[in-house]
C-alpha cells in the first residue's frame, strides 16, 4: 500500500495514567518510526533539593518524585546521607526498612500486572488483582500510618516500630496474599486469550537487553541477571532469602511472570523478616552535616534507582542527582515499537510499568 499514517499516542492516553507522548509513523498496522517526548511533568525536584530544602528535609521531597516507589527514593537518599554522616543503623531498623520496601514492591508489581490485563481488555482480571493487592496496601497503611506516601525512613532509622499485633496481622495477611498471588499467576500463565495478546509480543532478546542497558523486571524477563538488590548491600537481602528471579522469553508475558515471581519472593522475605526481627532500637541519634560525595544504587519496583549525593558541610546539599528506572528503559522501548503492531503498543508500554513522573522529575 505504501501510504504512511501518523498516529499519536499521548500525551493523554486512556491506557496510561501519566503524560507521555509517542508519535508513531505507521504503514498499515506496522509501526515504522517513533518519536518520544517525556518532559511533560518536569517539576524541578533536583533543583529544589539543593536550594529550597535543608538536608534533613530532602527525603520528604524526594519521596514525592513518585507515588509508587516513594519509599525507594527516600530510602536511597537516606542511605547516602547516612553514609556521609557515618551513621550505622541498627539491625532492627534495617529489617523494618526491608519489610516496608518489599511490601511497596508487592503492591506496585501487582498493579502493574493488573494494568497489562486491563489494556488487553481483560477488566475482570484487573479488578481481581486489585482486590487481592489490597492486602499489601492495608499492611502498609497499618505499619506506616499512610496509604501512599509512607515517610517511613528517617535519617538514622525508621519512624515507627512493629507491635506484636502488627506482626500477627502481617503474618495473616501475607499468607493470604501469597495464596492469592499463586492463583493469579496461574491465571496469567494459562489464560488463553490473555496469552494471545501477551505471548511473543514485544520480545526483548537477551542481547538487546544487554545492549540497551535495561533495568529491573524488564531486564530480568530477558534473562539478564541484573538486580541492584543483588549487587548493593544497603539492606540485608542476603540474610532473608533473596533469590534473583529471571525468565528467558523476554516478551510481555515473561515480564508479568517475573513480577509475580518477585512478589512471591518478596512475601517470603517479608514473612521471614517479620518473624525473625532482631531486638534493638529503631533509631540512632544523628549529628553533624553531610560532607563529601557518594553513589547509591537501590532496586525500585520498576528497576534500578541511582542517586548521586554531594554535601558541602552546610545545611543545604550541593548536588542531588536522581536517575530513575524508567529512564534507562526508554531507549529499548523506542526500539521495540519499530516493527510491532500498533494494537500491541499499549500492552508493551504497560508491561514496562512506566513511571513518567519519575523520569521527568
Amino acid at each position: 500500500m505504501g501510504s504512511k499514517i501518523t498516529v499519536t499516542f499521548g500525551s493523554q492516553h486512556i491506557a496510561i495514567p501519566e503524560p507521555v507522548s509517542f508519535v508513531f509513523e505507521t504503514e498499515n498496522e506496522i509501526i515504522t518510526k517513533v518519536d518520544v517526548d517525556v518532559g511533560y511533568v518536569h517539576r524541578g525536584i533536583e533543583q529544589a533539593a539543593v536550594s529550597k530544602f535543608n538536608f534533613n528535609n530532602v527525603q520528604f521531597l524526594l519521596a514525592r518524585v513518585c507515588g509508587f516507589c516513594s519509599i525507594t527514593h527516600a530510602g536511597a537518599y537516606i542511605h547516602g546521607v547516612e553514609q556521609l554522616l557515618g551513621v550505622e543503623t541498627t539491625r532492627r531498623a534495617d529489617y523494618l526498612r526491608l519489610i516496608v520496601t518489599e511490601l511497596d514492591r508487592m503492591h506496585s508489581h501487582l498493579l502493574a500486572n493488573g494494568h497489562v490485563a486491563e489494556v488487553c481488555g481483560y477488566e475482570n482480571l484487573f479488578m481481581q488483582v486489585v482486590k487481592y493487592r489490597e492486602n499489601a496496601t492495608e499492611i502498609l497503611e497499618a505499619i506506616t500510618g499512610n496509604r501512599v506516601q509512607y515517610d517511613y525512613y528517617q535519617i538514622g532509622g525508621v519512624s515507627r516500630d512493629l507491635s506484636p499485633e502488627h506482626i500477627k496481622m502481617i503474618n495473616a495477611k501475607l499468607v493470604e496474599l501469597r495464596k492469592n498471588v499463586l492463583k493469579m499467576r496461574d491465571f496469567f500463565e494459562t489464560d488463553y486469550t490473555l496469552g494471545l495478546k501477551t505471548r511473543n509480543v514485544g520480545t526483548i532478546t537477551y542481547d538487546m537487553a544487554k545492549e540497551y542497558n535495561t533495568a529491573g523486571p524488564i531486564a530480568r524477563a530477558s534473562g539478564l541477571r541484573m538486580d541492584a538488590r543483588n549487587e548493593f548491600d544497603f539492606l540485608p537481602y542476603g540474610e532473608v532469602g533473596y533469590v534473583l528471579q529471571t525468565r528467558t522469553e523476554g516478551d510481555v508475558w515473561a515480564r508479568n511472570m517475573v513480577r509475580f515471581d518477585e512478589v512471591i519472593n518478596s512475601i517470603d522475605m517479608s514473612l521471614y523478616a517479620v518473624n525473625n526481627l532482631p531486638e534493638g532500637d529503631i533509631k540512632v541519634k544523628v549529628k553533624g552535616k553531610p560532607k563529601g560525595e557518594t553513589f547509591i544504587r537501590v532496586e525500585a519496583p520498576r528497576g534500578e534507582c541511582f542517586y548521586y549525593i554531594k554535601g558541602n558541610g552546610t545545611k543545604v546539599m550541593e548536588r542531588v542527582r536522581v536517575r530513575v528506572p524508567t529512564y534507562s528503559n526508554i531507549p529499548v522501548l523506542r526500539e521495540l515499537f519499530v516493527g510491532s503492531l500498533y494494537s500491541d503498543a499499549q500492552p508493551i508500554v504497560l508491561s514496562f510499568d512506566p513511571c513518567l513522573s519519575c523520569t521527568a522529575r
Binding site: V36, D37, V38, G39, H42, G44, E46, Q47, V50, S51, H79, E82, Q83, G86, V87, E88, T89, K210, E211, Y212, N213, L224, R225, M226, N230, E231, F232, D233, F234, T294, F295, R297, E304, F306, Y308, K310, E318, R319, R321, R323, Y327, S328, I330, P331, V332, A360
Partner: protein
C-alpha cells in the same frame, strides 16, 4: 551502612570516547547514567557504570574543570542507550552535547540550564 568501592578512571574530554570504546564490555558493564556537577565556575562530568553480579563496585569516569559551553562528545556509538541521559543533561546544564536534541525534558519557554548554579542562586 556499606561503603561501595568507587573505581575512578582518569580521563579528559578529548580521550573519553576512545577510552570508553576500549573499556566498555557489553557482557560485563552496565551503563547507569551521566552526571554533571556545577562548582560555580566550572563543570565536572561523570560517566557512571556498574558491573553485572559484582558486589558494591562502581566505575566512574570523571572529567573535571570543564568550561561552560564546551563541546561534550556523545557516547551513542559506544552504547546506543546513551541518548536519554545525554539529552536530559544537555537541557538541564545548557551543554553543547553532540547530537543532542534539545527540548525533550524542558519546554521551549523554560529557562535555559535550570540546574546551573547561577540560575538559582539569584545571580
Amino acid at each position: 551502612m556499606i561503603n561501595p568501592e568507587l573505581i575512578m578512571h582518569e580521563v579528559t574530554l578529548g580521550n573519553i570516547k576512545d577510552i570508553l570504546m576500549g573499556w566498555y564490555d557489553v557482557d560485563k558493564h552496565h551503563y547507569i547514567t551521566i552526571n554533571a556537577i556545577d562548582s560555580g565556575e566550572t563543570l565536572t562530568i561523570d560517566w557512571i557504570f556498574s558491573e553485572y553480579e559484582v558486589k558494591n563496585i562502581m566505575h566512574i569516569f570523571r572529567v573535571e574543570n570543564i568550561e561552560y559551553k564546551s563541546n561534550i562528545p556523545s557516547m551513542m556509538d559506544v552504547y546506543p542507550c546513551a541518548w536519554v541521559s545525554e539529552w536530559d543533561l544537555a537541557d538541564m546544564f545548557d551543554l553543547n552535547m553532540e547530537n543532542a536534541h534539545r527540548g525533550m525534558f524542558l519546554e521551549p519557554e523554560a529557562p535555559t540550564g535550570p540546574l546551573l548554579k547561577e540560575s538559582y542562586s539569584g545571580k
